[in-house]
């Protein structure tokens, strides 16, 4: 009898290690975010701290696009539209919520105090609302092929922009109290932008979300669902033939991607030194995100993170050459597409590249199974 019990114990799925694998990196990520905020940021000074903050927001947004564009192969060029939806939802909650709760939209409470909790609630609301919008946009993708879908996403971004532009002025606290939280939902500042949003975005929160988004994207990539996404990306008919519900998985990718983009928008909305306005999160921003994903490598999590960081730093380094910035971006985009059609890293992660292996000997922990892009002409 004892042998049976032993054998059962041997075959039981070990809950502990699995939980550690998923929670462990997140805990490390949170710890790193904390380190970044507590030690690194004061060390480098406020300007570099702001650059670090901008990089974090860019990573959240670009990684979210990487899920739908890189992994699922569904081309979205209205991704900033999801950021806009999320940003406005969160700004609405923190601004008008602060007024309802504390009488003014100023910062309230310290770390994880009332204001911060309201901000985090705003981020969650942003994710939820954007995910809903993602579902709406994703549904046509059941019927539409890649390039048509691109147009629909673009149309979505444009429609969102026009609608926000038509919203009323931001209400001052007295009027906002009278109007109530829901009554002020159409007062989002119109084309001037949503002014007076409390600036809760800090490095710590941004990098906690960076950790969550990057981990989710990575876990998604190495999961069976991620492989299904990649299969859809490579060949929808073949994917359907092996039993993947293509429609369902595409919509799922859209919803997850929009959710994280919405959070990115919420972080953007609450940053000190930005104004949340419809022009800022328009077509140009969508293109910036596409460039990050393409340069980083469609489907490569670490590649897109690197590209997001690099493309945020470059304008700071080369402010003098700004006139040629866009032509150079565009040329780089074309050349990368021709020379390395899958982006700089392709599907590979940073630690799968030959340079990394040469420098650091052995490779990291990425599962080998998907490290190599599928061989196109294989019989």
């Amino acid at each position: 009898m004892k042998r049976v019990a032993e054998r059962v114990a041997e075959h039981r799925i070990a809950v502990g290690p699995a939980a550690a694998r998923s929670v462990g990196p997140l805990v490390i990520g949170i710890a790193l975010a904390w380190l970044l905020q507590q030690w690194i940021a004061p060390l480098v000074g406020p300007f570099y701290a702001k650059v670090v903050l901008d990089i974090g927001i860019a990573i959240v947004a670009a990684t979210s696009l990487n899920i739908v564009n890189g992994l699922a192969g569904q081309f979205s060029i209205g991704h900033a539209g999801f950021m806009m939806v999320g940003g406005y939802a969160a700004a609405w909650l923190t601004y008008y919520g602060s007024i309802q709760l504390w009488g003014s939209p100023d910062l309230h409470g310290g770390f994880l105090g009332g204001g911060d909790l309201l901000f985090l609630a705003g981020c969650l609301l942003a994710g939820g609302v954007a995910a809903g919008a993602g579902l709406l946009v994703g549904l046509p993708s059941l019927r539409l092929r890649g390039d048509y879908l691109a147009i629909v996403t673009l149309g979505f971004g444009e429609i969102m922009r026009v609608l926000v532009q038509r919203s009323g002025d931001v209400l001052p606290p007295v009027d906002a109290r009278a109007a109530g939280l829901l009554g002020s939902a159409t007062n989002l500042g119109g084309s001037l932008g949503f002014g007076g949003v409390p600036t809760y975005t800090r490095i710590f929160y941004v990098y906690v979300f960076v950790a969550i988004v990057v981990l989710c994207a990575h876990r998604l990539k190495v999961s069976s669902r991620g492989r299904a996404l990649l299969a859809v990306r490579e060949n929808e008919i073949a994917a359907a033939a092996v039993g993947i519900n293509c429609a369902r998985i595409k919509v799922q990718a859209f919803v997850v991607s929009a959710l994280f983009a919405g959070i990115g928008g919420a972080l953007f909305a609450h940053e000190l030194g930005t104004t949340l306005n419809p022009r800022e999160l328009g077509f140009q921003k969508s293109i910036d995100l596409v460039i990050m994903v393409v340069l980083g490598g469609m489907g490569s999590i670490s590649g897109v993170v690197l590209a997001a960081a690099a493309l945020t730093i470059v304008p700071e380094l080369f402010r003098g050459f700004a006139e040629l910035r866009m032509p150079i971006y565009a040329l780089a985009l074309i050349i990368v597409m021709i020379v390395r059609p899958a982006g700089l890293f392709g599907l590979k992660e940073l630690w799968d590249t030959s340079l990394w292996r040469r420098l650091f000997g052995r490779s990291g922990g990425a599962p080998r199974a998907i490290a190599r892009p599928p061989d196109k002409d294989a019989p």
Partner: protein
């Protein structure tokens, strides 16, 4: 291992809760004490690149002029002043970063900037949180200085400017009925329209209608007709100069004779260059007039001309004043610590500046008069000075800012006829662009996103050729066909080059790659086109190559020669294409490649050559479309302007709605989309025009994914 993960997290969170309160600048304890030695550094953040580059550059030049003068006189407190200018490329996130960098890296004592109110607000939030004073030279939106006590400005604010124009219209023009046409995308335009609206009604006037457009859109016939139907005595047009010139031309063309009124956004040498004769006799409010005989003004104008060889605009005068006010405060301030300096700036009284005597009120906004200027012989002349308000205007209730085009005066028949004429002319243009998308899609099965930029280049190349060949004035009869053929040839070459260099290497690659490359090509063309050695960073006026004559009148509507030419040429080109595709050897080859390129290749068709020719034809059609667009609307926005993208997109939607890959479908779809836009704008609301288009697209795609004429594609494995 798992057990160890959780405690780590708990410990980390506990540690976090203890000391995570720093780093928001309010509590970071960061202050920048002045050591009383060395040069005094001040910062300027501005849009030195991007679509508003001319604003930032104009301001920066004037600030440098003021700086060098001051330093030549020994600086401030015996110390030299140094200026650091950082570009924000017209983006608010970069504006915030630039101000952070100025304050924390360059340790500036004060910040100057910005022109755009949105960017000023982004920078103001940062300056306020670091307790560094900021002076905005020319952001007129009322909310800018509400960011806090560190923020002030030297220009008048929109609520005053709205009053100035209203007062001028009531007292000098004796107008009681004024129509408003504003840019719904620009906060500046929308806000100023609102302030004018309130002031004018408070002064006893009536607003006849409120119409909206989207900046850069050349097709405003529906809005202008609605305005004309209400028969206003003047029209308030609070947009920027690049739109105002074009709107003036169109307004005069449909017979609006009432004077047009504008705000300080009109202040540019380009205004009359674009608007030409149509701008004559129009008025706008400004911060100063270079004709103002006051010595301060004449002195500044002379010095600016000596140094830069051009006449300073209002933005330059304000940049100069902002610098003067700052230097004055630096000299007076007992210490250069932020709050002290800000209080000194706020206490500025009766300071003699170029744009008037500046006294800052309790909200740190200047109290000073504004001037109204009138355009005569292409030059703005001084018309009147409007003094600041002494008592507040009576309150008037806010009206809904939207007035649909429907329900106004004028004959219903003539409105219908006019809308039909507009629809047909616009539809013809859309058809020419849509055909390019459809041809390429038919053969290669991919959306050539760069097609709209070839169209843009077609319009600009035609403009450049008109200049080079000397057809800008009194063109001979052969000017139009000659330029059309040349532009079509150049663009065909452009199309072939794009195909060879960017698309051919990707033949057989996944569709996503080709799509992204197309976006790359599109971005490249847009941004190369705006470089100064290409077509330049300013909008232009397309000289008329066809005499502006009315051929006939139907129900009070003129059928103009231009519209007839546009329609005739478009029909001829579409008909020619139809014959080419269905009646010639080449057309048969194209259809064969479209049907199955491998089999076509086996049949001895040179697929590469067919693709090249397809691109050449599509690009040539786009060039013709671009030229006709320029002829009809007479204004060309810069190549990177979003209006071109939207135009291309609308044409693409037309191709998809008609059934992409089908020549007839493109033509029918183009007419349908043009009808939806024109009738929607004329009878529903002009503000939602783009929403109509995308709604039609989504509905058609959901109901009949292959479009009206398309056949459902069967995918083979």
């Amino acid at each position: 291992v798992a057990r160890r993960g959780w405690p780590v997290g708990v410990v980390a969170l506990a540690a976090l809760a203890q000391g995570c309160n720093n780093l928001s600048p309010e509590v970071s304890g960061m202050t920048f004490k002045d050591d009383g030695k060395g040069p005094i550094v001040i910062g300027h953040f501005a849009s030195m690149t991007g679509s508003e580059a001319s604003f930032g550059q104009s301001t920066d030049k004037a600030i440098r002029l003021a700086l060098d003068e001051r330093n030549a006189r020994g600086g401030v407190k015996g110390r030299r002043i140094e200026l650091v200018t950082l570009d924000n490329a017209g983006k608010s996130q970069e504006a915030g970063t630039a101000v952070t960098r100025l304050i924390t890296e360059y340790r500036v004592k004060a910040v100057l900037g910005e022109v755009s109110s949105g960017l000023s607000k982004a920078g103001a939030a940062v300056a306020q949180s670091y307790r560094v004073p900021m002076i905005s030279p020319s952001s007129t939106n009322d909310s800018v200085t509400k960011a806090g006590n560190m923020i002030s400005r030297v220009c008048f604010i929109d609520s005053f400017q709205g009053y100035v124009v209203a007062k001028f219209a009531r007292d000098h023009l004796k107008a009681t009925r004024v129509g408003v046409l504003y840019d719904q995308q620009q906060a500046y335009s929308k806000g100023l329209a609102h302030e004018f609206d309130r002031a004018f009604r408070a002064l006893g006037g009536t607003i006849t209608t409120r119409q909206a457009y989207t900046g850069g859109d050349a097709n405003l016939s529906a809005q202008l007709r609605s305005l004309k139907d209400t028969n206003p005595e003047a029209i308030f047009l609070p947009g920027y100069y690049n739109d105002a010139g074009n709107i003036a031309i169109q307004a005069r063309k449909i017979g609006i004779t009432a004077p047009l009124l504008g705000g300080d956004g009109w202040d540019s040498a380009k205004l009359t260059e674009i608007g030409g004769a149509a701008m004559e006799g129009n008025y706008y409010s400004n911060h100063y007039s270079f004709e103002d005989p006051r010595p301060a003004v004449q002195d500044f104008v002379r010095k600016y001309r000596d140094r830069y060889g051009e006449t300073p605009d209002g933005l330059g005068a304000l940049g100069y004043d902002a610098a003067l006010v700052l230097f004055d405060a630096l000299e007076r301030a007992p210490s250069l610590d932020g709050p002290v300096l800000a209080a000194t700036i706020a206490a500025t009284r009766d300071f003699p500046a170029v744009t008037g005597v500046i006294t800052l009120d309790k909200d740190r906004n200047p109290v000073k008069p504004a001037v109204m200027v009138v355009i005569r012989n292409g030059v703005p002349h001084y018309a009147a000075t409007i003094a600041p308000l002494t008592a507040p205007l009576p309150e008037v209730p806010d009206l809904a800012p939207v007035d649909p085009g429907a329900g106004t005066g004028g004959s219903a028949v003539s409105k219908l006829v006019q809308t039909v004429v507009d629809t047909v002319a616009l539809g013809a243009l859309y058809a020419l662009i849509a055909l390019g998308y459809t041809l390429v899609y038919g053969v290669l099965r991919f959306i050539n996103f760069a097609h709209s930029d070839v169209f843009t280049f077609g319009a600009w190349i035609a403009f450049a050729l008109t200049g080079w060949l000397g057809f800008a004035t009194a063109p001979p009869w052969f000017a139009l066909p000659l330029i059309m053929v040349l532009a079509m040839l150049v663009c065909a070459g452009l199309g072939i080059t794009i195909e060879r260099l960017a698309y051919r290497p990707l033949r057989g690659a996944p569709r996503l790659n080709v799509l992204i490359t197309a976006i790359g090509v599109s971005l490249l063309l847009q941004n190369v086109g705006t470089l100064s050695w290409a077509f330049g960073p300013n909008p232009e006026h397309m000289p008329p190559l066809v005499a502006d004559r009315s051929l006939a009148t139907v129900a009070g509507v003129h059928l103009r020669l231009v519209d007839t030419v546009v329609l005739g040429l478009a029909l001829a080109l579409v008909g020619g294409l139809q014959i080419l595709v269905f009646r010639t050897q080449l057309g048969r080859a194209m259809r064969a490649v479209s049907f199955d390129d491998r089999v076509a290749s086996l049949m001895g068709i040179n697929v590469g050559r067919v693709v090249t020719i397809t691109f050449a034809i599509g690009s040539a059609l786009a060039a013709a479309g671009g030229l006709l667009y320029g002829l009809r609307y007479e204004s060309l926005q810069i190549t990177a302007h979003s209006t071109w993208v939207l135009l291309g997109l609308t044409a693409f939607v037309a191709a998809v709605v008609g059934g992409i890959g089908d020549v007839r479908g493109a033509a029918v779809g183009a007419l349908l989309i043009a009808a939806v836009q024109q009738f929607g704008a004329a009878y529903l609301s002009s503000q939602l025009r783009d929403i109509y288009v995308f709604t039609v697209l989504i509905v058609v795609l959901l109901v009949k994914p292959a479009g009206l004429f398309g056949r459902p594609a069967v995918e083979k494995v």
